[in-house]
Symmetry: C2
Subunit: 443 residues, 2 copies
């Protein structure tokens, strides 16, 4: 049986442990919610103070040139591209995940319509358990283009792709509830074989698990050959609350959009070929730049860049591959400890045991009082979160205790301590106290 | 003739002068570009440091509840609503101006289509000299709904409204080039009489001139009775570079959207009636809340709130009415001084002399070397900006020197000194130096 000393030894032997120093973490908290909001990079306060006082306050409007504000969507985009297996100038940062999904799904629908002619491919296929905003946006795009959004379970994807009406498969790589991870390459290949485009949401992947969208550099693995992707900046990228998101399109699609002068619908001025010509007619910028829309939120972009830059430090220790190995070690340890130490308390693992199917989080289902259990755990400064189940779904889903393990800053002793507190909460029955039952606005 | 001493006396007698202390301004700069990027409120560095270190760094995910992050779009929205004559819970903050314009124009187009039946109203009418992003987004919305965007000159609005095909009139209240201000109430009335909806862009109005969209409080002036509006946070509201923008809809439209369960197309999860229920089906939140889309950018929102809060300080000195009076005094003085002191140097006033037609900026046309003249002026630390003309437009427009006069922090001596430097630049011919001709990326 693993002991706390064993965990401390793992930390002592962990070459990635030094990366924890890149963050300002509260001393009294075990933070296992980096899959909802990442922690604060140590470089942010000084960077933001500089951006605020010097770039904004002193240099003012000149900073669009002198501080390179105008390049932020591309400069940070290129840094994130390296984390998700995309090439240079293939990925841009700005707007929210929802807005970026609207852009790329709209572009995908345009491609389908342009190619389809009288084709009957008019279905956007996704998972019922996808993050809701993806489904809301997909439904909106479907309505706008005369498509239909159809929701299925994960294990139906293969068979449902045989339906010749499926135009676009839209999936989140790592499920926000279960932490189940799709095989991006295999599913993308299957979608293409079936004649469908594939759009990936990387919100729970970027910075957490290796992603290989489509390396454009010769000689590398061909990657997933995806069509479009989006992802968020405020989870594993540690970009701050509500940090800007990103959008990626395969170069074959942006090249075609170039040739045929297509726009995406959110054709704001900074996606124009010559924004400062101020011409009344929209001419989309070349390549991925047409997916930029309005003026970039400079303060939020600066914080995100600090978060993304930490990953460059991780390169010295093996980069995403090393982070992935640590992530799996952390999640495997948590599963082992909770199942051993909390046995008999009604927890049921909701995350795949198979490494290839697991993201960087662990969820446990519990039929009774899962919300209160998590509140009691938070009362002990062990911060995970609760996700309500849906008993009325075609496949009813349970209430979940959700724990994220960000390998940049989570220690093995944190895993041990969190499991220990969880056992204490369940064993003592303290979660039954009335104060833990009251719901907050944000759960 | 006004002297610099006269200007100093005006400053000494100006009750609003104290508001300048609410900002951190560089000592060596005369900043007349607040209509492009507002200055830094003194409260921002400490507020952002608190949000970063305490709310994000220490309280982490709990701040969605404890720091009220989830309410930011509404809380700041209600503060901006007071500045533009909107009621409580009628205005929300988030996303860029371009994205918000897409939301409200799409909603307007849906209304037209729902009401029109077989109607032939399928034209969105706007000004050729409108800010380009407005035209780009309107063109995109027009294409999506089978509408057509038609561009006209300002003086054609009245006659062109007689065209029964006009469905939506989309105007920017204060023109970004000339500073010409429309009569919002008269034009809104004319549009409604003609059977069209009216969408206002308040980017150069909010915080600069009184706006009275539609007071919902009984007993007040009925206001402009506009249909929809958007505006930006980083100009006269001093919310920081790329600050979030806002969207407003008349309550009669959001009430109808409630009754008929309509969404706007960017139906992200935070515009859902119950975002934390995580249901797969989108149910729009009631009222204006459906115009919220993704997760709010908390750092950027916090800075914007600092900027907006300065206006509450201005209330003690007469609020927007007093700010408007000062703005007109500043712009009138600049026109007087430049016309008197720079006579014979080829400057031609491009901003209306009539107060009712003037926003809070002054533009001068110059046929020769306007870009270099502005660069030379910036070399002397007098910061305005240059806007290129369009010689190929149906009504050719000239190159402009553009000067914004934000009444919260601009002094009468600044006006005098700016005019003095402009005279010196022109008289000395220093603008002809090669270094002033080289274009920057952002002009």
């Amino acid at each position: 049986m693993t002991t706390r000393q064993d965990c401390a030894a793992l930390d002592a032997a962990d070459p990635l442990a030094a990366l924890r120093d890149a963050f300002l973490l509260p001393d009294d908290v075990i933070y296992l919610d980096g899959n909802s909001l990442g922690v604060l990079p140590k470089s942010v306060p000084a960077r933001l103070d500089h951006v605020i006082r010097h770039e904004w306050g002193t240099d003012l409007i000149r900073s669009w040139n002198t501080a390179g504000w105008i390049d932020l969507p591309h400069r940070i985009g290129n840094k994130i591209a390296r984390l998700v297996g995309a090439g240079d100038d293939e990925l841009v940062v700005g707007d929210s995940t929802s807005v970026n999904l609207y852009k790329v799904l709209s572009a995908a629908a345009m491609l389908v319509r342009a190619d389809g002619g009288a084709s009957s491919r008019r279905v956007i296929l996704s998972e019922r358990s996808n993050f809701p905003t993806d489904l809301y946006i997909a439904d909106s795009v479907a309505k706008a283009h005369g498509f239909e959004l159809q929701l299925i379970e994960a294990d139906e994807i293969g068979t449902r792709l045989d339906d010749e009406r499926v135009a676009i498969l839209m999936l989140t790589h790592v499920n926000y509830r279960s932490g189940r991870m799709h095989d991006m390459a295999a599913i993308s290949r299957a979608a293409h074989c079936a004649g469908a485009l594939v759009v990936w949401d990387l919100c729970h992947s970027a910075g957490a698990v290796p992603v290989n969208l489509c390396p454009s550099r010769a000689g590398e693995d061909a990657g997933a050959d995806a069509d479009f992707a989006v992802g968020c900046g405020y989870k594993y990228l540690n970009g701050g609350p509500g940090a800007p998101a990103f959008a990626w399109a395969h170069p074959r699609h942006t090249a075609r959009m170039d040739r045929e002068q297509w726009r995406q619908p959110l054709s704001g001025w900074l996606g124009h070929a010559a924004p400062f010509a101020f011409t009344p007619d929209y001419q989309p910028a070349a390549g991925i730049a047409r997916f930029v829309c309005g003026t970039p939120p400079v303060l939020a972009m600066a914080a995100l860049e600090c978060g993304v830059d930490v990953f460059a430090q991780a390169d010295a220790f093996g980069g995403m591959a090393a982070l992935r190995a640590k992530s799996l070690a952390l999640t495997s340890l948590f599963i082992e400890l909770v199942e051993a130490r909390c046995a008999g308390f009604g927890l049921e693992l909701a995350t795949p045991r198979t490494h290839e199917l697991r993201g960087s989080q662990v969820s446990f289902a519990r039929a009774d009082g899962a919300y209160a259990v998590m509140q009691a755990l938070i009362g002990r400064h062990v911060i995970g979160d609760f996700r309500a189940g849906d008993p009325s779904a075609p496949v009813p889903s349970p209430d979940l205790l959700r724990f994220g393990f960000a390998p940049l800053y989570t220690r093995f002793v944190d895993v041990w301590d969190a499991a220990d507190h969880l056992r204490a909460v369940l064993e003592s029955g303290e979660w039954r106290e009335a104060r833990f039952a009251a719901r907050s606005a944000v759960t």
